[in-house]
Amino acid sequence: MTTREPLVLGIETSCDETGIGIVRGRRLLSNRIASSMDEHARYGGVVPEVAARAHLEALVPTIDAAVAEAGVELDELDAVAVTIGPGLAGALMVGVGAAKALAVGLGKPLYAVNHLVGHVGADLLTPDSGRIEYPTVALLVSGGHTSLLLVRDLVDDVELLGETIDDAAGEAFDKVARVLGLPYPGGPEIDRAAATGDPAAIRFPRGLTAPKDLDRHRYDFSFSGLKTAVARWVEKREADGDPVPVADVAASFREAVVDVLVSKALAACRDTGVPRLLLGGGVVANRRLRDVAAQRAAEAGVDLRIPPLDLCTDNGAMIAVLAAERIRAGHAPSSQLAAADSTLPVTLIQVP
């Protein structure tokens, strides 16, 4: 017997990307993203009110584009899915208001799901990837998050192993780029600057890796100390009247971030006896992170999965596929009264 796979439209507005994606079960039909990144560039970071205003403007054109690309009619949808948290409150609420009205207008159920778990779900949409196996460790690194998860089952069993206690990894890239006089977003800029640098030139600190920290923060991250160390180092050079070797600083900083991320993720795999690691989030665009993760995962006998980049950054398709999985597993829709939650815990996969 073949059951029809649910056709779901997902809306993602938790940060600066307006993402609309459509899936049929695990098949990706469209994934459209409008970003307000350029509008934030001159401020050196995401400005919440600017992001929220941009979502409202991008919403309908992005829905239209996703529907056209998928070649479906909105009336054919089985459900509307939306990111209900975590994220920027004002930005989330634009998507939530729209999703609710879309669901009522179509007479279809609403699934209000967790953004971070959506990042894990993105892997299901990876073409020709074979089936994801559970349990898996997942490392999500973006401008707003750095989280290490143990996913026993995508639809109903996700555990938070650790997360950043201060800045997110992407945020650290953005802040260090500013220290080096590079524009926003800092990730790609640092990557470029680092290309000709020596990653071993300067030994920057690896946050929360000292034995005393490992007791309490084995799987937690900290990047604000690293950012301060880079700033100090640069300021000292300037004070001494020496030129700042931007390429070496960028490469050494990047190496410190990548080292901590990969070390802690693989430690989690080892400790939990789970030989699988999944990466997600915008920082996965970092070539060095992908390379080091691939090399060290192979050495450790860990199977590494990295979804394509347009599914790693914020997008609506991952929200749609997470809802589709919840539907297939028989979970009821969310209430029309579900409230956006900017600090939604990762253990709450769908808000009832």
Partner: protein, 204 residues
């Protein structure tokens, strides 16, 4: 049927027939609950009127002025419902709807509609009266400091809610070609708050 949605103060939703006659209305006064209640209010007015979503032929959207975060949610909902049904979305100035309700009964002179704009400011719009195209706007919408703002030569109406029924009625006039349309943009009246980040020194 015309579905009207306004979240410029609380959240109010109404359903009117194309001539502007009210079929059903629901509202929720909370200033922080727009995203929670908007979908249920829309579902509620449809149910009260015994009307299916496919019978909605246009959506009227209150465009403010109003506090950003809440205002946007009603507009997002209006636009999304419009996409769902592939029907036009008609922008209406929320102050116009407040004025239209008041001007149902005659007043002596001019009317100034005033709403809270937070940060010790008010938003105001001035009307000379009403004609067959609806309330006639002659000033505003603009912001003014709350403490010193005074209306001397007109009736002042401090509104605590927006009657969505009148948002629908003004949209009906626009759809009938009897009232000029508004710009399809939220009336924020304020630029977004941004603090330009500068490079901070960490060594003293």
């Amino acid at each position: 049927m015309i579905l009207a949605i306004d979240s410029s103060i609380g959240t109010s939703v109404a359903l009117c027939d194309p001539s502007g006659r009210l079929a059903s209305a629901r509202s929720e006064a909370g200033h922080l609950t727009h995203a929670e209640v908007v979908g249920a209010l829309i579902g509620g007015v449809l149910e009260d009127a015994g009307v299916g979503p496919a019978e909605v032929s246009a959506v009227a959207s209150g465009m403010g002025p109003g506090p950003f975060t809440g205002l946007r949610i009603g507009i997002a909902a209006a636009r999304a419902f419009g996409v769902a049904r592939r029907v036009p979305v008609v922008p209406v100035l929320s102050h116009d709807a407040i004025a239209a309700a008041r001007l149902e009964s005659p007043i002596a002179g001019e009317l100034v509609v005033v709403t809270d704009a937070r940060r010790r400011e008010v938003a105001w719009t001035r009307y000379s009266g009403v004609d067959p195209s609806g309330p006639v706007r002659i000033g505003g919408p603009e912001l003014a400091p709350r403490d010193v703002f005074e209306v001397l030569d007109a009736e002042r109406l401090d509104a605590m809610d927006v009657p969505a029924e009148f948002v629908a009625r003004l949209a009906a006039l626009t759809l009938a070609g009897r009232r000029a349309g508004e710009a399809d943009e939220p009336v924020y009246l304020r630029a977004p708050d941004v603090t330009l980040s500068s490079r901070k020194r960490v060594t003293p």
